[in-house]
Symmetry: C2
Amino acid sequence: MTTRIVELRRGILKKNDELAAGLRNRFNSAGVLVLNLVSSPGTGKTALLERTLRELRARGAQAAALVGDLETDNDARRLAASGAPVRQINTHGICHLDAEMITKHLEGWEGVSLAGLNYLFIENVGNLVCPSSYDLGERIRVVLLSVTEGEDKPLKYPGLFNSADAAVITKIDIAGPCGFDRELALRNINEIRPGIRIFETSAKTGAGINEWLTYLEEPGGG
Amino acid sequence: MTTRIVELRRGILKKNDELAAGLRNRFNSAGVLVLNLVSSPGTGKTALLERTLRELRARGAQAAALVGDLETDNDARRLAASGAPVRQINTHGICHLDAEMITKHLEGWEGVSLAGLNYLFIENVGNLVCPSSYDLGERIRVVLLSVTEGEDKPLKYPGLFNSADAAVITKIDIAGPCGFDRELALRNINEIRPGIRIFETSAKTGAGINEWLTYLEEPGGG
């Protein structure tokens, strides 16, 4: 990369950081816990979120979601079935969400005010690289890793795993057929991000979901 | 994105296209078939490549591989067990390979000359977005999709699927436990890239591998 690109990239990230700081203030003032869900495509962000929204609503909490994808509104339609307010962000080729997209999509969101929410989930574009550099003003960044992806992913994508506050292992119902090596995966996550909270879940069977929800409900929100 | 960024990006891609055109000429002159393997992290690029290198060598072909990752040389070490020459490209945070990285890593590759090869495989960084814009001088771009990822991925990442010449569905040995809807996946791939060659494989059981190898051996190389 030439100096010009490095400088331009630094400028973009600086502007994003400023916008994200503003968002974080707004979220804190409104008392809404904001989580940014990041993973590979197909790890099961939408499935986890679908279940989480449903269960949080059943417990009386107000939760909403912003969902990023290059194209389609498949995920927003899936999630809307939970009854929670959901808004799709189409990035049209951009490989990550940024703070400006979040700001824009909070505006004019019918029936949703930040002050009325307990939780706002942001489902990022499926990508283990680019989202790591873009702060969205979230309090908790959650990285998901499915049992189908290989235990070495934390070592191969250290930037994203290192920037996360919590890790969720997904699809543990098919750990057996996938030959998933649990000990190795836990060791690799801990090598990149020592002491990080790790949840082992299946959105399908419900395994581990209670621990995850309890974490979301902890005083101070995780 | 501001005009400045759009222009800069255009400049970067133009430079990449020029370098890639030069690489393509070199590959054609040397008579080596070059394939660029792209997919999400964890789709099984390395597993397919491992088996492909082994089987091609058993058939008397000369094959080598360049392997891209942000960090680690895990994949190069795995692939070296096939006996084929393998060289790791660490991108250190960059989310895709580009033509300049390929050019650099072809230089000084001990024991490897393009003229002595029948096949050169390039395993891209695991990412369903960014690699689509970067031509590496390959003749065939292969997109992989595993049965674990969800059948909607072609619709959600149309840029990459649309730029591919062949598609390989991987891990079909666990299609059952994953609840994989084969018809829907085939339909979605064909919607984005009508008429594309599709292979359904398991690197573990060997299912579909012969069809894939036959494709590689077709006159004109695929």
